[in-house]
Amino acid sequence: MGGHIVWFDAVAIGDRPQVGGKGASLGELCRAGIEVPPGFIVTTDAFRDFVDREGTRREREALEAAAIPETVASAVTRAYEALCDEADGEASAGARDLPVAVRSSATSEDAADASFAGLQDTYLWVRGSADVLAALRRCWASLYSEPAVAYRERLALQDDGVAMGVVIQRMVNPRAAGVMFTRSPQSGDPSVVAICASYGLGSAVVGGEVTPDEFVVNKVTGLVQKTTISDKALRHVPSDDGSGTREEPVPEELRSQPALGADEVRALTEIGRRIEKHYGCAQDIEWAVDAGGRIFVLQSRPETVWSARDRATAATPKAKSFDHVLSFFGNKRE
């Protein structure tokens, strides 16, 4: 793989060094037949072309002021325009101002062993190639933000070793969005999928600004084991000027209604199971559902908390099956 940009469907999980964790994951999802909002990744080669130029200091302020190399800028602009053209008929035709999300995809981010969640920037609802390029540059620079640098120091990761891809993908205007764990975040139970859902963009859920509805679905029987409907006071929606997002109150009559219908819960569970099966381990998934009920996966990464604890609870077989009963009745439970 070479070049400055690469489309999702040409990426697999092994391409992390070129596209970063998030980009690799989206590409892999795409190849696994999971619907993700279409887009491309600005590769780590492009990032290096940007930061490695003579006289560029690896500091946030300096990078935010630096110019993007011409070859990179034109590749990104061409890919963005292709994305606009592809969406023609669905968005404003020919205007080439398709709203996109511009998301950091650091090579060390989203690794199973180091959850970098939220330490790099994401820009939503970005329109037009000039704004896309500006958001791209801010993403790159965010790799050198104070918290990101401190986090790497704590994990003893080399600053030189990290690089960043940037995902640029079509924005979904979600009716509802949220996160989904393919095992219980509370108990670690691997037989359930837990879905947190609220109205509008998923950022309100991820950022903890709203208490989402929770649906706990049994993977084996398909039954919804638990439904907790919350009072969802606010939602994040695209800004009125079509660029960026804003917060607004949820209409009174919707606040205490379930954010998802039974079919959507079922469909999400199925998607969660497919992704988990594809990766062979429990996943933490961000998703969105648009006004038409179409579900998109925005991100999937390995669940880190409970997977690390599994090893500690192993039971061992006994010589005779009934030995288990004898120990159990003798209060010698394992």
């Binding site: 993977k219 029987t221 919804v224 084991q225 006994k318 099956s321 009745f329 003798g330 010698k332």
Partner: protein, 602 residues
Amino acid sequence: MDTQTTNFPLPSEVRAAPGTEQTELYPYFTRFGPEDDGRFWFYNGMHFPEPIPAFDAITAEAPYMSLGAYNTRVFAVPTVLGIDHRIVNGRVYIIAVPVTDPAEIDRRLAVFQERAGYYFTNWDRLYAQWNGKIQALLGDIAAIEVPALPEFDDARVVTAGEGIAQNFYLIERFHTCVEAMLKMWQYHFEFLVLGYGAYLTFFDFCKKAFPEISVQTMARMVAGVDTLMMRPDDELKKLAVLAVEQGVDGAFVRGRSAADILSDLGSRNGSARLWLEAFAKAREPWFNISTGDGFYHHHRAWNDDLSLPFSAMVDYVADVRAGKSLARPTERLKDERERIAAEYRALLPSDDERAVFDQMLGLCHLVFPYVEDHKFYCENWIATAFFNKVREFGALLARHGFFADTEDVFQLHHTEVSLALSDLALAWASGSPPRGPGHWPAIVAERKRVLAVYADWAPPPALGPVPENISDPLLLMLWGITSEQLQAWSEPPGTGNTLRGFGASPGIVEGVAHVVRSVDEISTIREGEILVCPVTAPSWAPIFGKIKAAVSDIGGAMSHAAIVAREYGLPAVVGTGHATKRIVTGQRLRVDGTSGVVTILD
């Protein structure tokens, strides 16, 4: 759990129901004493949902005698001894006696490992032997002949030099009869604690591996599909199909009594004869199932009261005519059970855990046939045969004026029946009239009055101080009780419009409630209603074909009702504590069998 937050009365605070203060129906050892105030008692409403007549106290006495013996003395179960029971206002309260001293537990464990290990190792052989013992016991009960007490004894006493007169046999045979009941309960518990132990061990493992798994789901992995308890209902379906095939289905008219249907068929010939032969064949043994669960004398076998099976057959015949398939989807149920188990197994994180899962589930499948099938023989067939035999003694006493009606014999404790028979044996011997006719009628009348008063008494779900936590796994399994459940029960029954229980069978439906307090009322259930009852008996399966959902006061996810509800795909919530008190017939309900919530919509 904080004892301050619960409000169960102490046993000493429970007053005799008004107007019953002077009457005692049950033996002295069943009465609460002052020392009982320090202990925590459950109302055993699962087995004793109605006030128990004096005779029926034997169905508390006999099982606790046996269950306790196996736990305490035979297998030496390490952490729990037997069950103490008390009866107040006709209701049975129980407590399991725990072993808490670790040294004592270890000492018992050594014995338990050896003895329980022997039973598990030789399970199949011992179970085959058990079946033989049960058949022999059935034969023993059938062979009991109640002496007629003729004016002159049989000549054989003389010619064979037997040297024993009929009045001896009167005493002996009643004892034989009571002993058969005690023996049945001994056999009943021979394997049961070990069988449940296999379930509990598996459930405990599942709970650790899958903390959010429901008991319902675990039960689905364990439960068998072809059990004896399913057979009677299957037989009714087969007879319904046969009636249509043979063109005699016209006899099965809704509202017609069993006797009318049978006499209609008896008046026809040809294919009706064929149906009657098949019917006679199905009756033995399958109509020995009880309409209740064998704990009360009025739980009659289908053979004694054909109304339940015939009203079910009328419905089944209508279904067959309408082209509905009655066959239970056993293959699908089996496949589903295996799929669920395989998928859970695959979710385990290591090969070791998968091996443990296989061992434990394998053991559950080994014990399942006993755990399910013993009910058909014990509580159904033998219990109903026993009560019928007691009826024969009752008929003899009634003939001699001890009371007006055969059924009155059940107002006497079994030791009192012994006394009455001694009275009769003496009178037959002396030639004087027995004293009983001047003694028992007033007592019988008073006890009937008192039972009616008891029926209106609302028993608290528990008595005494609530312990920190209820840890006895056997009680948890059998009664479906947890600390949370106790907390919920201790709330006054009149608050809110929701009841919480165990989701025993998944699904959500809305419909009209029909509250059924006793087995005698179950034929009043109409198509599409929601059954609300204290506890469901295994033989109610036929009405599960009519109802939309089931709600009970008592019961756990492994109760037979839960298994049947899952097979019929009906939502069921069991163990709600108060459903029959909170809900009235005609109210609209929403039953959520997944989460275990019942909502009163009116």
